[in-house]
């Protein structure tokens, strides 16, 4: 009985994860502008990956494989937000303006003040 429950739980996690990865990938393609695409890329990296990994952990039960899956989840937790942050930071510094910039774009001289301030 328990095995059936665990099996069903892991299926749901896997399917949810797969659905979220698909949503993220679709968003990556359909979003109009670079900065709006950061969000769907984040969906796949964070929740999509976690659901799939938990689905696999439920499958693997209590073993070395589960430890490896947790490690993968932990390192993904560290690296993917960092790289998304780094990409967004580099794009902003290089002057890629968000298309519908509600906030006035940073005046260039302020950018150089940051340089001297450092």
């Amino acid at each position: 009985m328990i095995a059936l429950l665990v099996e069903a739980a892991s299926w749901t996690f896997l399917l949810l994860g797969a659905f979220l990865v698909l949503v993220g990938a679709l968003g990556l393609v359909r979003m109009p502008d670079f900065y709006t695409r950061l969000h769907p890329a984040g969906i796949t990296d964070s929740l999509g990956a976690d659901f799939i990994l938990t689905g696999l952990v439920l499958q693997a039960g209590f073993s070395l494989v589960t430890v490896k899956l947790f490690l993968i989840g932990a390192f993904l937790f560290f690296t993917s937000p960092t790289s998304t942050h780094a990409i967004a930071n580099a794009a902003l510094v290089a002057g890629l303006k968000p298309r519908h910039a509600v906030v006035p774009p940073r005046p260039p001289e302020k950018a150089t003040q940051d340089e001297e301030a450092r």
């Binding site: 393609v29 670079f34 990994l53 993968i72 990409i87």
Partner: protein, 100 residues
């Protein structure tokens, strides 16, 4: 059930490749390549379970660790124009010219 997840991941990878080829600005390409890497990690993990040998997760673990090196190198390449120690005046002038 792993098959369904694997197929979903493959479709997601196709979409990421579409963004990689089409991406107007280079930062779209970096983002697409980075999300493609995460999907490869998941695909390798799911494939391990699909073939019944789940103890090959080391490769997925390796990618989870090393995937962001490429992204950092690309961003440093565009920020400082050299992967070594860029000299101050060159970087500062480039920022002004880049942020106009």
């Amino acid at each position: 059930m792993f098959a369904a997840t694997a197929i979903a991941l493959l479709v997601a990878m196709v979409l990421a490749l579409v963004r990689l080829y089409a991406g107007p600005s280079l930062y779209d390409r970096v983002l697409a390549a980075n999300s493609f890497g995460t999907k490869t990690v998941l695909l390798i993990a799911v494939m391990g379970f699909l073939t019944g040998r789940p103890d090959f997760l080391d490769i997925a673990l390796l990618y989870a660790l090393l995937n962001f090196i490429g992204t950092i190198a690309v961003l440093k390449f565009f920020r400082y124009r050299s992967l070594g120690d860029a000299v101050e005046e060159k970087a500062a002038s480039r920022n002004k010219e880049a942020s106009q």
